[in-house]
């Protein structure tokens, strides 16, 4: 009897140990941060505007970019690196250190200065005057500044560059764009859709407020059109980037046009099993921020945020690493119905 009991106990312990090992390793990164484990796969996404504007706009940037790369490298060594990183304002070769040092296997660069068809002239086009006085297309002096880094395979990446009417002031000099890629997340039956962009800035664009607002709304319209044409309703979608939605009228318009949930709002809602990092204030992730993440479940798979933090807050030689901080969200992914009656939005919902 004792023998039988020991045998059964041993077998049970082996199986339990195996499953425990599996779960503990699977959510090793999130457990440290106090995450509640969720069924299915998980995914962490960091969006970070690294402010690597060309010199002399941003001087002595290289040491800070090196430090950003070093932090990502250290996190990888610790096994806590975000699965996906989307960078904005990654202009110039000096940003390559982040690609080279952080260890991400899959990289998608946003369009460069010459890529994409510039469709319309800028907002300051005047009909009077000589026909050849100004270029018929918007002048671009910089690329999009967008980079996606991923541990998981990215397939079928697509981009669309904003036209000349969808920018205001100095922002028109960069070839701003939307990028979308399909991420093959382990444990998911079909790839997750990831979209990133960098929308028109506000005061730093040096254009009248009404023109800045119009440009931002046109970019939002373009993103909505991009999503309606290219995103599928079956797979989950994450939209992460610097959307410059700090102004209420910008945020409101964006929310009305883009069919996705605000990860911060969802996380902070009562009853949802989501953790905010201890040193991250609610305002930092909600509305007092240009960086945002939005998500939408698919018809076959659900997604929800389980942890949010603002990171990369340290200073180097008395200066912040960037004029933005990192915005990292961990998502739980699961089959439809696995989350119960939590707030999710499907692509088919309005």
């Amino acid at each position: 009897m004792r023998v039988m009991f020991s045998q059964t106990l041993l077998r049970s312990m082996a199986v339990v140990l195996g499953l425990a090992l599996a779960l503990s390793a699977r959510y090793a990164k999130t457990d440290d941060a106090g995450l509640a484990s969720a069924p299915g796969a998980s995914l962490s996404v960091l969006t970070y505007n690294i402010n690597a504007l060309p010199s002399p706009v941003a001087r002595n940037k290289t040491p800070r970019l090196n430090r950003i790369a070093q932090i990502l490298k250290q996190r990888r060594a610790a096994g806590t690196q975000p699965d996906i990183v989307v960078l904005q304002e990654a202009f110039g070769e000096r940003c390559d250190v982040i690609i080279e040092e952080s260890g991400y296997k899959y990289i998608v660069r946003g369009p460069g200065r010459k890529e994409g068809r510039s469709k319309e002239a800028t907002s300051w086009k005047v009909e009077g005057g000589k026909s050849y006085a100004k270029t018929p297309k918007a002048q671009k002096f910089m690329g999009s500044g967008l980079i996606i880094l991923s541990d998981f395979e990215i397939t079928n990446p697509k981009f669309y560059t904003f036209d000349g009417q969808s920018c205001a002031g100095l922002d028109c000099l960069a070839n701003k764009a939307i990028i979308m890629g399909e991420i093959s997340v382990p444990g998911m039956a079909m790839p997750l859709q990831l979209v990133t962009s960098h929308f028109n800035s506000n005061r730093s664009a040096k254009a009248p407020g009404a023109i800045r607002l119009r440009a931002h709304q046109k970019q939002t319209d373009t993103l909505a059109k991009f999503l309606s044409r290219l995103s599928t309703t079956t797979a989950p979608l994450i939209i992460a980037g610097d959307f410059n939605t700090r102004l209420p009228e910008r945020y409101q318009y964006f929310r009305e046009e883009i069919n996705a949930l605000d990860a911060a709002e969802s996380c902070l809602e009562t009853g949802l099993n989501c953790v905010l990092e201890a040193n991250t204030a609610e305002a930092e992730i909600l509305y007092h921020t240009a960086d945002k993440q939005f998500y939408r479940s698919g018809t076959t798979a659900l997604i929800r945020p389980i942890y949010i933090e603002r990171n990369f807050k340290e200073s180097l030689q008395g200066r912040q690493l960037s004029d933005h901080t990192g915005y990292e969200v961990h998502y739980a992914l699961g089959a439809n119905g696995s989350f119960g009656a939590i707030n999710t939005i499907n692509a088919e919902d309005e």
Partner: protein
């Protein structure tokens, strides 16, 4: 006792191994745990959201213009100002009597060829006392242009020569302007423009030869080559809708050198200050 300690069974061992494999995402899903190995760059492909634009675009419109009756005149007339611009693929354009081909088009520079009609000086536009000066026939100029633009600033230059054997002169026109966005609908372009004319060109409009002197009572005068006009101006454009615009402009020019010193300009019917006002409604397509 020994019998009781038999192996767990292949099925359970495999289940354990699979679970352990799933537990190590770095190995199971090819996620790097170290920062080694070259990254795989995946090229993004551009997508199209809009239909291709028609190769033709342009504008048409009408309004009023107030301008000196002839170069150096202090008499002004109001006229209907018809506006037509046609552009094909941003390479060939026709704009209010000017036909152009943009042969070189880069981010900062554009250059090409121009063919321009000029109505000259009509006798009907001259006051009675100066009708003896006679007309300067309409002519066709051809030449080259270059345009430079950086953000909201532009510079244009045109070098033209008369190919219709009317003046046999050459002109050079240089303009610099800056676009100011006043509001969501309104833009303003202040500019400075200077014009140079060869001796033949300036003579055609500002000379008074013996015959003309006898007929008009003005003293004889021969204009030399040089800058004959400097101007400042402003163009204001207001969007009335997606395709409709109100366009107004003021050009304040001052004749210089031979053009200013000409007896035509110095006469009681002349003025070195030349003002042109335009206001029109245009529709773009």
């Amino acid at each position: 006792m020994r019998q009781g300690l038999r192996p767990l069974g292949i099925g359970r061992v495999m289940a354990f191994a699979l679970a352990a494999l799933w537990a190590l995402p770095g190995q199971a899903y090819d996620v790097r745990t170290k920062t080694t190995g070259p990254p795989v760059y995946i090229k993004a492909v551009e997508v199209k959201l809009d239909d291709d634009k028609h190769p033709w675009h342009g504008r048409y419109g009408a309004g009023l213009v107030t301008a000196p009756n002839f170069p150096g005149s202090d008499n002004y007339d109001e006229d209907l100002d018809l506006d037509l611009k046609l552009v094909w693929k941003n390479k060939v354009f026709f704009e209010n009597g000017t036909l152009g081909v943009i042969a070189f088009n880069r981010r900062l520079f554009r250059a090409g060829f121009l063919l321009r009609a000029d109505q000259g000086r009509q006798v009907d536009d001259l006051p009675e006392a100066l009708k003896g000066l006679g007309k300067v026939s309409a002519r066709v100029d051809s030449g080259i242009f270059a345009g430079f633009s950086l953000y909201k600033t532009y510079i244009t230059a045109e070098l033209l020569t008369d190919i219709s054997d009317v003046t046999n002169g050459q002109t050079f026109d240089l303009e610099i302007g800056y676009t100011m966005e006043l509001s969501r609908q309104t833009r303003m372009v202040p500019y400075f423009r200077t014009k140079w004319g060869s001796r033949h060109h300036n003579s055609a409009f500002f000379d008074v030869d013996a015959v003309q002197a006898a007929a008009s009572g003005l003293r004889q005068f021969h204009a030399k080559s040089g800058i004959y006009e400097n101007a400042i101006g402003v163009v204001v454009e207001n969007d009335l809708g997606k395709d409709w615009h109100f366009n107004a402009s003021v050009n304040l020019a001052r004749l210089s050198d031979g053009a200013k010193d000409s007896p035509i300009t110095q006469s009681t019917h002349g003025d070195p200050n030349q003002i042109t006002l335009r206001a029109k409604l245009v529709k773009t397509f």
